[in-house]
């Protein structure tokens, strides 16, 4: 690589680096500034007051709602996908590929195409304004990704281990619990965390299905607070947004390695 070219590359990358980080650094600065405005600036007084605000009353409620929705969705989806992926990996049955492509398709189409069907059925079932409706919907949307991911993990485990255990008199279920699952611990963790991240950040589904202030997750809460009183409290909103952004960031850097692998595998499969 020639020298001037390397320098030029570094300058371009630096510019992109700075440009991408400016909005985020504003968010960070505004979250510790009680007098925050959209203009970026070093706060005159650094306080944690905004964060106290975010951990009281309504915002705290929203955080707990978000946690409840995300944790239940992730657990439910991981449970279903752990079982559902096994036949796809190990056995052949009628309609296998049809179902598999169905899942790929379901994974690809955007959430906004589903809002009306989902809304109508929950109106009929009288489940509007319940967390259950949101958890069910997010689970349906989350299953395909986890199922395909776990199928990929199962595929990497040689079936000979299970065959050996069957010969030793192990039942099918027991061989799954004792042989297969312990070997794909990372897969289960990635599936759980990815679903958690998806359910934690989702805006549209809870926005449509939950219309009560006390039931909202943080995403909808931030949205409604934004236009509420005319004067926007940028400090409080920024601290709420920052708190909201931290779990996905942590999760992402935790599962990063597996994610790229999963993404590539998912494309090739």
């Amino acid at each position: 690589m020639r020298y001037p070219e390397t320098i030029a590359i570094h300058i371009i990358l630096m510019l992109i680096f700075i440009f991408t980080l400016i909005p985020l650094s504003w968010l960070f600065l505004a979250s510790v500034d009680t007098a925050a405005s959209p203009t970026a600036g070093i706060p005159t007084r650094v306080t944690m007051e905004n964060f106290y605000g975010a951990f009281s009353e309504r915002p705290l409620r929203w955080i707990l709602n978000s946690l409840l929705i995300a944790v239940s969705t992730a657990t439910l989806v991981t449970f279903l996908a752990t079982m559902g992926a096994y036949p796809f990996s190990r056995m052949s049955f009628f309609g296998k590929y049809f179902l598999l492509y169905g899942f790929v398709f379901l994974r690809v189409i955007p959430v906004s195409t589903f809002i009306l069907p989902v809304y109508l059925i929950f109106v009929k079932l009288k489940l509007l304004n319940t967390h259950l409706s949101v958890i069910l919907t997010l689970s349906i949307l989350g299953i395909p990704f986890s199922l395909l991911l776990l199928k990929g993990f199962y595929d990497t485990i040689p079936i000979t281990f299970e065959e050996a255990s069957w010969i030793d008199g192990c039942s099918k279920w027991k061989s799954i619990f004792c042989i297969v699952l312990p070997q794909c611990g990372p897969g289960l963790a990635v599936a759980w965390f990815m679903t958690f991240m998806f359910a934690w950040g989702e805006f549209l589904i809870p926005f449509i299905l939950l219309r009560k202030m006390t039931l909202m997750p943080l995403s909808v809460g931030i949205f409604t607070t934004y236009g509420e009183h005319g004067v926007v409290n940028y400090g409080l909103l920024s601290s709420m947004s920052l708190l909201y952004a931290i779990p996905p960031i942590l999760v992402y850097f935790f599962v990063q390695k597996h994610l790229v692998k999963g993404m590539v595998g998912y494309i090739k499969g």
């Binding site: 070219e5 390397t6 590359i9 570094h10 990358l13 630096m14 992109i16 680096f17 440009f19 991408t20 980080l21 400016i22 909005p23 985020l24 504003w26 968010l27 959209p38 203009t39 970026a40 279903l80 079982m83 559902g84 096994y86 036949p87 056995m91 049955f93 169905g102 189409i109 955007p110 959430v111 906004s112 809002i115 009306l116 069907p117 809304y119 109508l120 059925i121 009929k124 069910l136 349906i140 099918k172 934690w200 950040g201 989702e202 805006f203 449509i208 995403s219 909808v220 931030i222 934004y226 947004s241 920052l242 909201y244 952004a245 996905p248 960031i249 992402y252 790229v260 993404m263 494309i267």
Partner: protein, 288 residues
């Protein structure tokens, strides 16, 4: 064999129940799209079957065409921007001797990984009249612009490129790693320029991945509701009313559920067509 079947049924049935529930919901919505059902008012309780009237009205609705045009502009710009910038970044970062690769990767990824609504809020404040964007432009001597009333669609497009490029970048980075370095060494010996290496080695070898990336981000951007809705709500007027926002407004602001359902199925059809188009392209590319 009997035992196997039992096992398959018991393992798959919970997931299938969810799928069937979902299919019932879709079926219900298809039925609703043939009725004049409203969220409120007299037809909320006893909707009338009106056949294809909703679809007919949709194709006469200027707002429908407006939203389609906005969606095409929005999606095309965002997809072109994200894909080009992602490829550009990935190629630059995979050059030898680049020191700040991981720092840039982390920064770009951060903007992507934060929840949608945080993106909306952060970008909204950034492009606010008193926001950072205008103060930076002020330093260069450009007077402040009311972005959200004058250039709303452009702000949404650039914001989405800012928040979404990471996906393409990560994908291309891992694709570029699979290209054997010997090819580039051979090209170096032959005296190829950087552009020639990109044009005749990187581009053809990464083409299938680029196509898959285009497929995924086209579909996602076309259906990406939260960003534009959160920033502008479709306004000012209908200037940024992309298709998902149009569906939302018809169904949940104007309470025309049946009409919205019809519009929603047109959206599914469009997404399906984009899918099929790209898959045909991909097949053809792989055969060559």
């Amino acid at each position: 064999m009997r035992e196997n079947n039992k096992l398959i049924v018991s393992m798959l049935s919970p997931t299938l129940i969810f799928l069937i529930f979902f299919l019932i919901a879709v079926g219900w919505a298809i039925y609703a799209s043939f009725t004049d059902i409203m969220l409120l008012g007299p037809t909320a309780k006893s909707p009338q079957f009106i056949g294809l009237r909703n679809y007919e009205r949709l194709f006469k609705d200027p707002l429908f065409f407006n939203s389609l045009i906005k969606s095409v502009i929005y999606t095309a710009s965002v997809v072109a921007g994200q894909c080009a910038l992602g490829l550009f970044l990935a190629v630059l970062m995979s050059q030898k001797g680049v020191k700040i690769k991981s720092a840039v990767a982390v920064a770009v990824t951060l903007c992507w990984i934060i929840p949608d609504i945080v993106k909306v809020y952060t970008w909204g404040a950034f492009a606010h009249y008193e926001g950072t964007l205008n103060s930076i432009l002020g330093l260069v001597g450009v007077s402040s612009v009311r972005w959200f009333s004058e250039k709303a669609l452009a702000v949404c497009i650039i914001g989405n490129i800012w928040g979404g490029t990471a996906f393409s970048m990560i994908l291309f980075l891992s694709a570029l790693e699979t290209i054997p370095p010997q090819i580039y060494e051979a090209a170096n010996i032959d005296g190829c320029s950087s552009w020639q290496k990109f044009r005749y080695i990187t581009l053809p070898l990464a083409a299938p991945v680029i196509l898959v990336d285009l497929l995924l981000i086209t579909i996602w951007t076309f259906g990406y509701f939260t960003f534009v809705f959160g920033l502008t709500g479709g306004g000012p007027g209908h200037a940024t009313e992309i298709y998902p926002v149009f569906v939302y407004n018809e169904a949940f602001r104007l309470y025309k559920i049946g009409y919205g359902a019809a519009a929603s199925f047109i959206m599914t059809a469009i997404v399906g067509m984009i899918c099929i188009g790209y898959l045909i392209l991909l097949r053809r590319l792989e055969r060559v």
